[in-house]
């Protein structure tokens, strides 16, 4: 591994000098499978208080995405990965803006819509 590449920062997922061997993928796979099983269990069980299930599912999904980013894509907050990490943060920011922004605006519009029967009355 040349020192120049380390100085310039690493590309995402790059494995300089076998820093993350097969172990990283195995640990990642174990976590990912465990979190997936937990998600499917949470969705089908009556053990968890029903209104809390969506929150639990969201938490498990975010945890699993984190596992994939850390163990498969090898993105970390290490100093030589500042570029990748900032790009990831920006991607997450824009995604959250698009998803939650759309949902907020659409539910607000829906709330302010005239009920269908009122609309039909007006057209008469």
């Amino acid at each position: 591994m040349d020192t120049q590449a380390q100085a310039q920062g690493d590309a995402p997922g790059v494995d300089p000098g076998e820093r993350h061997g097969a172990r990283s993928y195995l640990i990642g796979l174990a976590y990912a499978v465990a979190l997936t099983v937990a998600s499917f269990w949470a969705a089908t069980t009556s053990f968890v208080y029903a209104p809390a299930v969506p929150v639990l599912l969201g938490t498990l999904a975010i945890a699993q995405m984190g596992v994939h980013v850390a163990f498969f894509l090898h993105i970390s907050s290490a100093p030589d990965q500042a570029n990748n990490f900032l790009a990831l943060a920006f991607g997450v920011f824009v995604s959250a803006l698009v998803i939650f922004g759309s949902m907020l605006i659409m539910s607000n519009l829906n709330h302010n819509m005239m009920p269908m029967d009122e609309l039909i009355k007006m057209q008469r």
Partner: protein, 206 residues
Amino acid sequence: MSAAGQALTGIPGVPLALRGPAPVRVVAGFGFWLFLLSDIIIFAALFATYSVLSGSTAGGPSAAELFDKRHVFLETMCLLASSATCGFGLLAIQRTDARAMYFWMGITFLLGISFLTMEGREFASMIAAGAGPSHSAFLSAFFTLVGTHGLHVSLGLVWLVVMLLQVATLGFQPMVGRRFFCFALFWHALDIVWIGVFTIVYLGAK
């Protein structure tokens, strides 16, 4: 140079301006990472669409009536396993071990094909039961979101075959290694999108 500056750059005493251009491997990886993030933003738009429209079933079947969780679980396991085997394949490329590379990438391909077959069968049975994309806004959004992910997986498989042919013809050149590496990033990113799909679409079905 300050301590904070050293922590940022890794090598003490060499200012950023004096280090010259970054190696191609780093630039290619970073560029592809930016592409992947923009791809994920496309999926974010499709997820937003699905979330808004998921209740608009127009009298047709709802999400809870349509989906079989066991089927989705198998699909998910295929993708997760393929992500790990893809990683092992990438390690084999770094060791320039052709046999291990063909073995792991072959398994990755088979797992990807099984995922697509299961998804195709699910789509076909839904359309046969009259729950095609033209039936309701919910189903349009469903087929767009899950279909776009499936399209990405199909393109990934085509890319994988092209890369295997490149290793067969060009050997383990740095250029081929870089492309394979970008493929692995693409494959892992698709998995991350799938986590969103199975959580929001299949498990979040009401």
